[in-house]
Symmetry: C2
Subunit: 302 residues, 2 copies
């Protein structure tokens, strides 16, 4: 079992979906990632909140013995990142009602000395400069994977390209893969992006699953057939957390290990979206995840 | 091995895609279906063309010993169905430049006496009244599967509902499944439609593969990761043809047989879209299909 570190956002989320609404709920990429990863391996979280964030708010993280919060900075005088989203009747569509970057617009966090030897590293989506700076703080990780978003593809293409040369794997969604390459065919786009990073790309397609691109090959996996989606917020970070947790736990990232890890990511995300915020992850177990993985393997085989 | 019959259109297609253009090429649902099915089992084709259709035009069908054209009617004084489509740079998008129903707007074909004992039947997309009328001509088939389209869902909902009560399986695409049920979640929609037919539904999702709904369960399969799509015309009918051919060849339609047949459908369609009209199907072999199926099984497993 190898050490796993995640850097990313911690947020106060308000989410409206056809299934209901939650206000001021715990969210953010590193939060979903760490909680999902913790089913597989201990995980080190690096992120910043403001002093407006009540202690009880972070309880789901603090109470999870597998999440090390030594890299959680509570910054005096700053305000925590806030996001308010509204999903449509078709939950594949959403509007951002409001977003306050707050502390995310300030200087990034410092990775604690005790975390500098981390072997598996996930740089959740943020400005590529900050991702590069965080990577620079670390020693010699075995595997570095990053997420990105359309905003940086549009506005920071060169910096993103430089980051990509330094990372082993990139996780992004299908529209981002098309945008990054200008290629409308997602498979074509994925193969091209795989040439720009050290080892592999995972293109996420939401309800349609995802595709791993590695060594000139494409490995597709469908989505888990979920008839009810309460809140898709965090599904991508949950996917990445379970995937990286699975890789770190097995200390391997060859194609076979990645495919198994991606299946775990798909399944853990399919559980996460069954309720708001972290509720469904808090209510599940590793055994329930394993059971659904076995079911998934059964229904996908032919 | 059981007998397989298809009723559907035969068309003169003009297709423009980013990869080029073909004019006055052989197309139509029953044509793609029959050619794909012929890799698995003999197939009986029922359809009508006008007397404007040169004999050489139908050569790919006539030269295929596994396609029985006894149900092909050449109607004097009528004109053959014509379709002209233009695919976008993203070939998932297309415009219909022109369509002439011609003989398809006239009275439907008569199924020859020698075909009335057909055991496996596919009613390709057409007006549900005509699908019902064709079904009424037949004896007691073992398995009847139909395709439909958004037009009939919008304009002939009641007739389509009556047809659905009479058929074992329905094949439709994801946007049609959503339209038919008013449910934005495709999995939810698929489960509901499965209640309206006798046995099963296959929801096709183009590049994202498809999902089988049967006995309250959903079986997803991803698309084959095709980096180059020359012409998607006929991919859905090729999928259905290979699927039905596979079922008829094995004379079974339980969940395991359907899942294998759907995988063959996916693979055969992935070959078909590599060239215009029937070219890629004409250039391939059952061995090449089996090889790609084995490769597909390998890349999907985890």
């Amino acid at each position: 079992m190898s050490s796993l570190l995640v850097t990313g956002s911690i947020g106060i989320d308000t989410v409206e979906s056809p299934a209901g609404k939650v206000e001021d709920a715990l969210g953010g990429s590193s939060v979903y990632f760490a909680y999902a990863a913790s089913f597989f391996t201990p995980v080190r979280l690096v992120g910043v909140v403001g002093d407006d964030c009540p202690e009880a708010f972070l309880a789901p993280l603090a109470e999870n013995e597998r999440i090390d919060l030594a890299g959680l900075e509570v910054r005096p005088g700053s305000k925590t990142f806030r996001w308010h989203g509204r999903y449509h009747e078709d939950v594949n569509e959403r509007d951002t009602v409001a977003v306050e970057l707050n502390v995310l617009a300030e200087v990034g966090p410092k990775i604690p000395d005790a975390f500098l030897d981390s072997e598996y590293v996930f740089l959740a989506n943020t400005h590529p400069d900050l991702q590069m700076e965080l990577l620079g703080q670390l020693g010699k990780p075995k595997l570095v994977v990053a997420d990105t978003m359309d905003l940086w593809i549009r506005t920071e293409r060169e910096k993103l390209a430089k980051l990509m040369e330094r990372i082993d794997g990139l996780v992004l969604n299908d529209s981002e893969a098309r945008m990054l390459t200008g290629k409308p065919n997602v498979i074509d786009a994925g193969h091209r992006i795989a040439q720009l990073v050290r080892r592999f790309v995972v293109v996420k397609k939401g309800e349609h699953g995802g595709v791993l691109f590695m060594d000139g090959k494409a490995y597709p996996l469908p989505g888990y057939p979920a008839a009810l989606v309460v809140d898709p917020t965090g599904a991508g970070d949950t996917f990445a957390g379970a995937m990286m947790g699975c890789l770190a736990a097995g200390d391997a990232a060859d194609a076979a290990a990645l495919r198994r890890a991606i299946a775990y990511g798909t399944i853990t995300a399919s559980i996460e979206l069954e309720d708001f915020s972290l509720k469904a992850l808090q209510a599940t177990t590793r055994e329930a995840i394993d059971d659904r993985l076995a079911e998934f393997r059964g229904i996908v085989s032919f």
